[in-house]
Every structure is written in structure tokens, then in C-alpha cells.
Amino acid sequence: MGQLNVAVIIKLEPDFSEGNVSYNPDGTLNRAETKNTLGPHSGIAAHAAFFAKVMYDAKVSIGTMGPPIADLALQQAQQISDAEELHLYSDRLFAGADTLGTAEVLKTGIHKMKEKMDIVFSGHRASDGETGQTGPQTAWKLGFTFLGNVVSYTVDMETRTIRAKRLISLQGTPDVLEEIEAPLPVFISIDPTYKSSFDKVSQRLAFQKYKKEAEKRADNYKDYFTMFNADEIGVAKSLVGLPGSPTIVYKVERVPKSTATRKAEVIDGSDPEAIRKAVGKMKEALDAMVIK
């Protein structure tokens, strides 16, 4: 039957949650002040990898390309997925990479991982302006079958095939769940609605056990961590960073925000009179919405 090996590619992103994000006076993101965190879609990909850990006792590795502080994202993803190998690909040479340049680094990194991968997971996309191409391009470079928008999957360890459900949403048509079967290895870009479910006692026990192990490992994540520069992973320098990135960002145009048509009013929550007024207004609005 053999071992199942899975990798997750993740990304450190600005933390857009309340209180952590900071803007420049002109309204652009202040990257220096804004805290960073594991991207939400990367988090979901890590959950999908943990599913393989619980169900098939898979070995999980994580890779990311980014600045040295991206070890934080690796640690967070390890806490979710119980990974035992963390890779950070970091080099000035990688700067300015577009998705194709990034894919080259990730592919080389995945080849550098201890095990030969059966499944590679990536998030749906990054939330800070990436276009969702890194996944497919990495898959293409790896030569793996690409499965997009996966909402659930199972692996047949005997035949080494995967069965996955993909959510296909096209505007104007009802959503479709497509079930597909493919031989391993595959590259899975995980759908944002993905949620692992464990229905058996044995699976829940394994879940608890590995969750605890994951927390322990993440506390000592440095023991699992390796940072590589371009030479160390042995990437072809012409294929990464700016030279390896055919996309040229020619101009960034700020789309002016349309002025709000709503009229907002700040209300003092400690003033009962103000609350009463607000409730009155809400009632009015609701009444108006009822079709008479």
C-alpha cells in the first residue's frame, strides 16, 4: 500500500483581520505596519492536508516562498496540519517574481522535499493580489494532474487513486458538484468552502492525537524548519525572480471608490435614546421592504 506523502504550498499574507491591518494616509496598504499571518486560503489547504494525515496517516511537508519572516506562516500551517518538514525558499533573487517565477521555485522546492509527493495542496488564491495562477502553474511544472476547486476527497490507498468533488460555479447557472477520479500524483487547489469531516470514532481519535502532536511540533517548529536560498535548492536562475517572470506590471491604476450612496450615522451605544431612534429607523426600513 505504501505511505501517502502530501505537500502544501502556502503564503504569508497581510493580516486583514480587525486591528491588525494598517493603511497609509493615501489609502494604500501600509505593509510595514500591518501584521502578517498565514493566508486564509493557505490555512484551508493546510486543513485539507491534515485530513490526509488523519485519514491515511500521511506525511505532511510544507513549502513557501517569501521573506525570512515567513517562517511564521510555516509555523501556523504546521499547527494546523501536523507537518514534519517545513521549507522556506528565500532569496533576493526571487524578488519581483510573478506567478510563473514563483511556480518554478515551488516546483524545485517540492522536488527537494524528503519524500516523493503524491498530492500537493495549494489555497484557492492569495488574498493580497495574487491571481490564482501559482497553483495551476506549479502543477504544470511538476507534471501533476491539476484538480481545482476541490471541496472534498478520498484516497484509495490500494489503487493509489484519488476521488475528489469539485465545486463548479458559473455565474448564471446553478452550482455543480463534479466527482472525478484520478491516479496519483495530483495537484489540488482547494476550494474556499472546503471543510474536513470525520465521521468515525477512530478518525476522531486520530484527529485528537495528531492535533495534539501538531501543537507540540509547532511549539518547536525550528526543529522541522529549513531555509533555502537559490543556490541551495538549485533552481535555474533564469527561470526565477524577475528574469523568470514574463509578466510585466506596466501600470497600477487606482480605481476611484464611488461615493457611498448610504447615509451612515455614528450612534452612541450607551445612549438609550439614540438606540431607540436607531431601532425606529430600522423598523421603518424593514416596513418599507415588505411587499404590500
Binding site: 465521521d199 468515525k200 470514532v201 477512530s202 476522531r204 481519535l205 485528537q208 492525537k209 495534539k212 455614528v266 452612541d268
Partner: protein, 622 residues
């Protein structure tokens, strides 16, 4: 279908002890708990005792959890135990520390969220090695049996599975007992209703105020007018940096003369002695000047909120020796004085923002739960087929005078059940005749069962000694002769024997009466009590605020269904539900389940279930 030897249902202190003991014995076991994590659903007073009974053996907490004394997060070792009789501003106090220490190695104040998680951590470690463990977030909804007599367990969350034995540790409102028909639901006469609040108070203020050192604690019990004429009483236990203030009243007496449970707590909090006990310095915000620009008003509001948070955090650390050490170790401060300077700085800033400081108290959590009175409701044979009932689920709580013991009893039961199951695994015989009867005999032999059946004359003597200065006429015609007889060494033995022949059933109405809990204490306080003056009046949160302050994971459908919306009982629930879930509309009682704290008060006449896995109330202290 997956198969296991044994499933424990419910991860309170009783179920966890069963898991730990089974693992200690090398047997694989799984424990299912409805709460999203262990400790979320458990509530106690509570003092956890370790006992040394004169006759027989019990399994104490420190025996099952070897590192309990070194590592467990208990609060304080109770070294003072005082009973107060109250009437308005007068209090008459009796030292009952001897009763507290009677046949006990120790009694620690505990908070169950913390403690049960610690128990779980220890139990999991042993259980995992054997392929077992704890599964939180799973609610058991039915048990049936297959032709080989094994139990099939169905849950709201998982595929069904098969086990050879079940340990039901699902608490006082045991659905397992109900669904398999192991016993009728407990009746109001067999139950007490417990309500409790956690009050925050810095460590060193607690120590100074209660006259205790950092490794000591105090328990204060209350009877008299604070009971609002109900049978039962109030308690205040010191924790590390909180106080547990609670009221435990006979449910039957509550049904006869319904009083809102929160009002019973409020009566305690307003008592001058208790208000002085819970008093603290608190920041009081002033109204923000409405003529300021709105941005400025917002800025002030945020600044005040932030600084008050800082103030609370630093102050509670500053007023604790370990807290100060922690701050110094963190490298932010060099010496204690630096912390004080920082605290003064924040106070100054707050004053500039219009905040003043005054006396009040700080409530952190409100909760409620029923407590079974083992004298009246313990299961005579705590099993059904291959299901063994332990702790509250078996109705095994000890109520003697002001003493409540459920934690230690449940832990001991858990061990007895685990031993019985381990034996059954070895013999491969899980039949009721073998497993059930053996466990039943074991619990019958438990010294705790004796406590639920009989009056202990030596324990009684402690009370008599404590009351020896009380004028006998005060005790009244009804008790006078009995007391006289009891005070006599020789006659006491005979009297207690006689009383035990009569049995608790006949004695209880006399012992647990309004006279004992209300009238006599009031007279005691009025005639012999000292006046306690109150320096402020505590601002007590409304019940809506209390419920609003709790954490819930809302379920969209209700776990409780009203069966007869216009019964007398249901109408009383409008008053008696501690979370105010019931209201009456046009003569019909309706439920809004969102604020339910799973106390069980309404279970008599409702279709009552615990919420599905992970749903409902999540206590932070417990």
C-alpha cells in the same frame, strides 16, 4: 461498524476518573463529551475533598492522578470554614472548620473548567497509549442493543458504533438514564437548584481580607434571611484570584414559592457581610461630553476602554506575588516599584480621561445547575444492562448540613465502575448479572453510600459543639428535647441509632426545614449577631447582562421542547429558569433556548436534551 470495549459518556470529573482508571488498568476506553472541549459544560461550587473514612476505602483524586498535588490547577486549600446566620445587617458566625476537616485529608476550592481540562490531559496521555482517548463535541442521542447484547451508540455527529460496556457519566440531567429507562427523571424533592457567580478580586486583597496566606483559603456559608425563605443556603469560597459566590436551594421549596434564581444570588451579594467580602476598587467611566466632535468622542471612548483593560491586567498582576514575578521575568520591569509606577501612570491617564475610582464588585461569570441529593435520589442499583451510572448521573451527591460532596463521590464512582469494567473485560462477561451486580455491590460498599443513608454521630457532635453557646429556648420546642438528648454523650449514640432506624426519609422533613435554614438562623442573628456595616452598595448586573456576558455557540433549533405550554409547572419556569428562557404569551409558555445554561430545572415537563455537540453554553470558569 467500529467496535470498542467500553465507551464513557460525559467528560465531567466522574467520567474522566473512569477513563484515567481504565487506562491505569491497561484497558482501552473512549470518552465522548458533548462540549466543544472538556470543562466547557461543567459547573460546581466547589470544594473538592480528599477523604479518609473511618470504615471502608475511597479512591481519592490524588491517588488516581499521581501528580495532582504538584501540578493540578486547584485554587486554594480551604483552612477556614465558617457558618453565618444572617438577619438584615446582623450576622452571627460559628466556626465549623472541624466539620470541614472531619475525615478529610484536604479540601481545595476548584474551578471546573480549568480542573477538568487538567484531568483530561492526564487521562488522555494514558488512554492514547492504549488506542483510546477523548472525543469532544459529540452528543450521544441513543443507545440500543444488538442480539449479542452489545450496545450500539448513536450520536448526532458520528457513525454509530458498538461497545461491550457503557459508563454513563452524563451528569444530573442524564439523558442516558432517561432514554433507556434506567430510572425515572429526578423529581424536585430529590434535587437542589444551584446558582453561582464568579467575582474577580486580586489575590493579595483576598488574602488580606479573609485573613489567609497564599496557600490557604476560606469558605463562608450563609443561612437566615439571605435564603429569602428557601431551604438551603449560600456559600462564598475563595479561589486564587476570584471568589465563588453561590446559592443552593431545595428545588421543591423553590417550586412551592418560586423566586428567580438570580434574585437568590442577589440577596447574597447585597448582604452587608458579603458585599464587604467582594468589594474592590473599580474604574467608573464618566459620560462623554456630547458637544465634542464625534471623532473626539470616539477617540476618548477607545482610549478609556484600552486603558481600563491595561489597568485591570497590570493591577491584578501587581497584587499577586507570582504576578509581579511574571512581569519582572518578562523583562518589562526591573522591580516591584516599577510596576506600581506604571499602574499609577495609567490611573493618572484615566483620571485625565474623566474616569474616577470607587467601590464596587466585578462579576465574571454567572451559571446554574441542578444538584442531586443522594439521600433522596441515589440509584439503588446504578446500572441498566451493560450501562453503569456514576456520579451525578446516578444521583450520588452528599448533602449533609452545609456540606456538598459530588466531585469526590463521582471520582470514586468512576474508579469503581472502571474496576468493574476491567474485570468484565478479563472475564469477557458484560452481562447485567455479572458486571452490573458487581458494580452495584461495589457502590453499596462505598463509605459515601453510607453517608447518603445514615447520620454520622461524630459528625453531628461537631455541630452540637459549635452550637453549645446558643440559648436552648432559641432552638424552639420542636428541637429542644432532641438537642438535649443529642448533647449527652451516652444518649447521643442511642438517639442517632433511633434516628437511623427511622431513616432519612422520615427525618428529612424535620432536619431540612424552614426552621433550620431560615427561622432559627434569623433569630440567632437578631439575638446574638453583630452588626456589619456596608460601605457601598454593589451594582448588580441584570439577568440580561449576565446572560449577555456568557459564551454560547448558538444552535438554530432548540434542544428543549415544551410539552404542555399551559401547565402550572411550565408557568413557574418563567420565574425559575435561571437564564430567563421562558416567557408567557397569551396564557402559553414559550421558550427561547438561546440563553439556556443546560441547568435542567425545566426538564420535568419538557422533552429535554443537551444541545448537540459543541453547541450551547461554554463556561470559562465553571
Amino acid at each position: 461498524m467500529e467496535k470498542y470495549d467500553v465507551a464513557i459518556i460525559g467528560g465531567g470529573s466522574a467520567g474522566l476518573a473512569a477513563l484515567k482508571q481504565l487506562s491505569n488498568l491497561g484497558k482501552q476506553a473512549i470518552l465522548l463529551e458533548a462540549g466543544s472541549e472538556i470543562g466547557a459544560k461543567n459547573l460546581s461550587g466547589g470544594i473538592l475533598y480528599s477523604k479518609k473514612p473511618q470504615k471502608g476505602q475511597v479512591s481519592n483524586v490524588e491517588k488516581i492522578y499521581e501528580n495532582f498535588l504538584d501540578d493540578a490547577p486547584f485554587e486554594r486549600k480551604i483552612t477556614k470554614y465558617i457558618l453565618h446566620s444572617t438577619s438584615k445587617d446582623k450576622v452571627y458566625s460559628m466556626d465549623l472548620t472541624a466539620a470541614h476537616e472531619y475525615q478529610s485529608n484536604f479540601g481545595y476550592s476548584v474551578l471546573l473548567n480549568k480542573l477538568n481540562s487538567w484531568f483530561a490531559k492526564q487521562a488522555i496521555e494514558s488512554a492514547e497509549k492504549l488506542g483510546g482517548g477523548i472525543i469532544p463535541g459529540v452528543h450521544v442521542k441513543s443507545i440500543t442493543w444488538n442480539e449479542s447484547g452489545n450496545a450500539i451508540i448513536q450520536t448526532d455527529e458520528l457513525d454509530e458504533f458498538e461497545v461491550k460496556a457503557v459508563i454513563a457519566a452524563d451528569g444530573v440531567n442524564s439523558e442516558i438514564a432517561d432514554m433507556v429507562g434506567a430510572r425515572p427523571k429526578f423529581t424536585p424533592t430529590q434535587l437542589y437548584q444551584g446558582v453561582k457567580v464568579i467575582v474577580k478580586l486580586p489575590e493579595e486583597i483576598i488574602e488580606k481580607r479573609f485573613g489567609i496566606s497564599s496557600d490557604e483559603g476560606a469558605a463562608h456559608l450563609f443561612a437566615g434571611d439571605v435564603t429569602l425563605n428557601h431551604i438551603g443556603g449560600g456559600f462564598l469560597y475563595t479561589n486564587s484570584d476570584t471568589l465563588s459566590v453561590g446559592a443552593v436551594y431545595h428545588y421543591h421549596s423553590q417550586l412551592e414559592n418560586p423566586t428567580e434564581p438570580s434574585a437568590l444570588i442577589d440577596a447574597l451579594l447585597k448582604n452587608p457581610m458579603i458585599s464587604e467580602f467582594i468589594k474592590d476598587d473599580v474604574p467608573i467611566k464618566s459620560k462623554i461630553d456630547k458637544s465634542l466632535p464625534q471623532e473626539e468622542q470616539l477617540r476618548i471612548r477607545f482610549a478609556v476602554a484600552k486603558q481600563i483593560k491595561n489597568w485591570n491586567e497590570i493591577r491584578s498582576s501587581y497584587l499577586s506575588s507570582s504576578g509581579r514575578q511574571r512581569l519582572i521575568d518578562s523583562g518589562k520591569y526591573k522591580i516591584d516599584e516599577d510596576i506600581k509606577t506604571r499602574l499609577d501612570g495609567i490611573e493618572n491617564q484615566l483620571t485625565k480621561l474623566g474616569v474616577t475610582f470607587g467601590s464596587d464588585y466585578v462579576e465574571a461569570e454567572y451559571g446554574a445547575k441542578l444538584v442531586p441529593d443522594g439521600k433522596r435520589c441515589r440509584m439503588q442499583k446504578p446500572f441498566f444492562k451493560n450501562i453503569l451510572f456514576v456520579g451525578d448521573a446516578a444521583g450520588r451527591g452528599i448533602f449533609v448540613g452545609p456540606r456538598i460532596e459530588g466531585l469526590n463521590v463521582g471520582i470514586d464512582d468512576g474508579v469503581r465502575a472502571a474496576n468493574a469494567v476491567a474485570k468484565a473485560i478479563d472475564k469477557n462477561d458484560f452481562s447485567a448479572n455479572s458486571l452490573g451486580e458487581y458494580y452495584s455491590k461495589e457502590t453499596e460498599n462505598s463509605p459515601y453510600t453510607t453517608d447518603m443513608k445514615q447520620i454520622d454521630k461524630n459528625y453531628l457532635k461537631i455541630f452540637l459543639d459549635a452550637t453549645k453557646d446558643v440559648p436552648k429556648d432559641l432552638i424552639g420546642a420542636r428541637y429542644g428535647p432532641i438537642l438535649k438528648m443529642m448533647s449527652n454523650e451516652k444518649l447521643r449514640g442511642i438517639a442517632v441509632k433511633f434516628a437511623n432506624i427511622l431513616g432519612y426519609e422520615k427525618l428529612l422533613p424535620m432536619i431540612e426545614s424552614e426552621d433550620t435554614y431560615v427561622k432559627i438562623p434569623i433569630q440567632l442573628a437578631e439575638r446574638l449577631g453583630e452588626i456589619v456595616s456596608q460601605s457601598y452598595s454593589p451594582s448588580i448586573p441584570s439577568i440580561a447582562d449576565r446572560i449577555g456576558n456568557l459564551s454560547y455557540n448558538d444552535d438554530n433549533s432548540s434542544h428543549i421542547k415544551v410539552l404542555n405550554p399551559n401547565s402550572e409547572f411550565m408557568k413557574k419556569m418563567v420565574t425559575l429558569c435561571p437564564a430567563k428562557c421562558y416567557s408567557e404569551e397569551g396564557g402559553n409558555v414559550i421558550i427561547q433556548h438561546e440563553g439556556c445554561v443546560d441547568c435542567g430545572t425545566c426538564s420535568q415537563e419538557t422533552e429535554w436534551r443537551h444541545p448537540r455537540g459543541e453547541k450551547g453554553i461554554h463556561y470559562k470558569y465553571g
